[in-house]
Amino acid sequence: MKRILLVIVVVALYVLHQDFWFWRTAHPLVLGFIPIGLFYQACFSVAASLVMWLLVKYDWPSQLEREIEQPEPE
């Protein structure tokens, strides 16, 4: 269940990258000079970092590290 939720979050973020709603406008200008489309994509990068943190915290493949310590089967 946890993994399914994480997959949904990642897919949702990927979809949110296609922000067609700010396609043809520069307004509002954030801080008076940052076009909204650029600001949105900058926020997207921060969100991507947060999602990566979620993946690392809740779905870290620690079994791989344990596995390499085990001997090879015959």
Partner: protein
């Protein structure tokens, strides 16, 4: 000339770090130490060197140049999509490759493929395609070095000499320092160019009297206002670009870098901070690239804008050669350097120039990766290591480094493309199309060597086809407000294959989209009708997943 002197001091520092690392290395004649730093990199060096090795000349020069011509869309196209896709692939694929490398001693992706799919010569075919696709990446670094030194020195250092200096410095520390030297140099360089973005933004912003007026001026100009939106790029093209970062994990130098971590935990920081590092370097560069359009007192920038204007208004009636000439004049690869020259004090321009050089010189990892691949996938695989020993293998790797650098330099002197186009059109799309190899090898028991061969041959053929198509059908001139594409093939009134001002479109998508999809389909279909490896081989790979 003062900035150029600062840059030369920087180059000497880089050289020292590389050679210093070499002296500190123990057991340096061991291939694993020279090529993988004995799989011993700590979390800090691993994060910064892995990020740094993926940030090449176009992270600073190409991004600001692309933004100068295309506007803010550059950030969404290349930076934020990479900020999601690249750490995700490092998380899913990089960690697994690290574990398999640690367990079975792999030093290259091809070694893993050969073992996983029980193949020999098919691995050699994959090596050849990877090597051919990697070389443009190395050329980018040398071209960027030549452009940067030429601009920073105010033209005193010619392009050919600047490229030669960069090639020599990179070759020297890779030659002596191997992976350890390269990783430390990359760490130093990454810190420098991460600082670069913030400092450049502040200095140029202050110099321009703040950005608010500049943005308003751009908005009030009908020709420039679209640069603050994404209307010049189609949503399909924008979507296509999210396939390009799939190339990162398929690049041999990135995958080989994944093998250098001491522990798997070291991937955690890399995965989490990767999007923020991209944000820190790309956002200022893209923004400054757009703002350069408001700089009216730099003749070189005015000349670029004029070339862009003539291309848009009269390009249709021009000969293809004349259009290419104008495109080259309008290219903005050096706008960030021109902004620094205009607004930064001399001493700071030198430091910031060093920051640019740091990004430009990321070709070190690619050179080392090619050398590692040659010595492991060809020299060792075909008996060289067994006959001549490991010390000779390392020396062979060093000789290969010299040869490949000289070759890349020779090509860089003749290549007419802008830095950005060269990288995107050939290397990135090709490696993205190879990414199904990794997914299949690591996650699908049913994949076979014949599926891998089909993917590799298709990738090579598709890259060659796009290159030939773009040579045969010259790029049309951009036509604001109209569809400038040359439609070569239409299906039911829809453009199936077109030549666009920026490249090629297949049903409106960049070629990378069908290339990746067909690669994945070929892997599935061909694997389904051919025999899988033995159960004992599969057990070695998939018990990792079963636990």
């Amino acid at each position: 000339m003062i900035p150029a002197i600062v840059v030369f001091i920087y180059l000497a520092t880089v050289l020292y770090i590389g050679i210093f690392a070499f002296r500190k290395a123990k057991g340096r004649e061991k291939a694993e130490d020279y090529f993988l730093a004995s799989r011993s990199l700590g979390p800090f060096v691993f994060l910064f060197s892995l990020f740094g090795t993926n940030m090449t000349a176009f992270a600073i020069l190409g991004s600001s140049g692309h933004a100068f011509s295309n506007g803010i869309v550059t950030f969404g196209l290349m930076a934020s999509s990479s900020g999601l896709v690249i750490p995700l692939t490092i998380f899913l694929i990089g960690t697994r490759v690290w574990a398999l490398g640690k367990k079975y001693g792999f030093m290259t992706p091809v070694q893993m493929f050969r073992d996983r799919w029980e193949c020999g010569h098919i691995g050699t075919v994959i090596f050849v395609v990877q090597a051919v696709l990697l070389i443009p990446y190395i050329i980018i670094g040398i071209m960027g070095g030549g452009t940067t030194l030429n601009a920073i020195s105010g033209g005193v250092v010619p392009y050919w000499f600047g490229g030669a200096i960069v090639a020599m410095v990179v070759m020297s520390y890779v030659f002596f320092g191997g992976m350890r030297g390269t990783a430390w140099v990359n760490t130093f360089q990454t810190i420098l160019f991460l600082l670069f973005g913030a400092i450049a933004l502040i200095v140029i912003g202050v110099g321009m009297g703040g950005f608010t007026n500049a943005v308003q001026a751009i908005q009030s100009s009908p020709a420039l206002a679209p640069l603050l939106t994404r209307e010049r790029i189609s949503p399909l093209y924008f979507f296509s670009y999210t396939f390009i970062p799939l190339s990162a994990i398929a690049f041999p130098h990135i995958l080989i870098f994944c093998l250098t971590a001491r522990k798997m935990n070291q991937f955690k920081k890399t995965v989490i901070f990767y999007p923020l590092c991209i944000l820190a370097i790309w956002l200022p560069c893209v923004f400054l690239g757009v703002m350069a359009n408001r700089v009216t007192d730099v003749p070189q920038i005015r000349a670029k804008q004029e070339a862009r204007r003539v291309l848009a208004t009269q390009g249709k009636t021009m000969a293809p050669e004349a259009r290419d000439d104008l495109r080259e004049k309008a290219a903005g690869d050096d706008v960030i350097l021109l902004l620094l020259e205009r607004y930064a004090p001399f001493w700071l321009a030198g430091l910031l120039g060093a920051g640019i050089m740091a990004a430009v010189m990321a070709s070190d990892s690619q050179i080392l990766a090619l050398s590692t691949m040659f010595t492991e996938d060809v020299f060792a695989f075909y008996g060289g290591k067994r006959r001549f020993g490991e010390a000779v293998q390392v020396q062979t790797g060093r000789i290969f480094i010299v040869i490949i650098t000289l070759f890349a330099y020779a090509v860089a002197l003749r290549a007419p493309e802008t830095i950005f186009e060269l990288a995107i059109q050939y290397a990135f799309s090709g490696f993205a199309a190879l990414s199904p190899l990794l997914v299949a090898a690591l996650f699908w028991k049913g994949s076979t060597k014949w599926g891998a061969l089909a993917v590799t041959v298709w990738t090579a053929a598709a890259v060659a086809a796009v290159a030939i198509f773009q040579q045969v059908v010259p790029a049309p001139a951009p036509a604001p407000g109209q569809n400038p594409n040359i439609v070569v093939c239409a299906v039911g009134g829809i453009e199936a294959l077109s030549r666009t001002p920026a490249g090629t479109a297949v049903f409106g998508f960049m070629p990378v989209v069908p290339m990746v999809i067909v690669s994945a389909l070929l892997m599935i279909v061909v694997s389904k009708i051919t025999r899988t490896p033995r159960a004992t081989t599969l057990a070695r790979y998939f018990k990792l997943e079963a636990t």
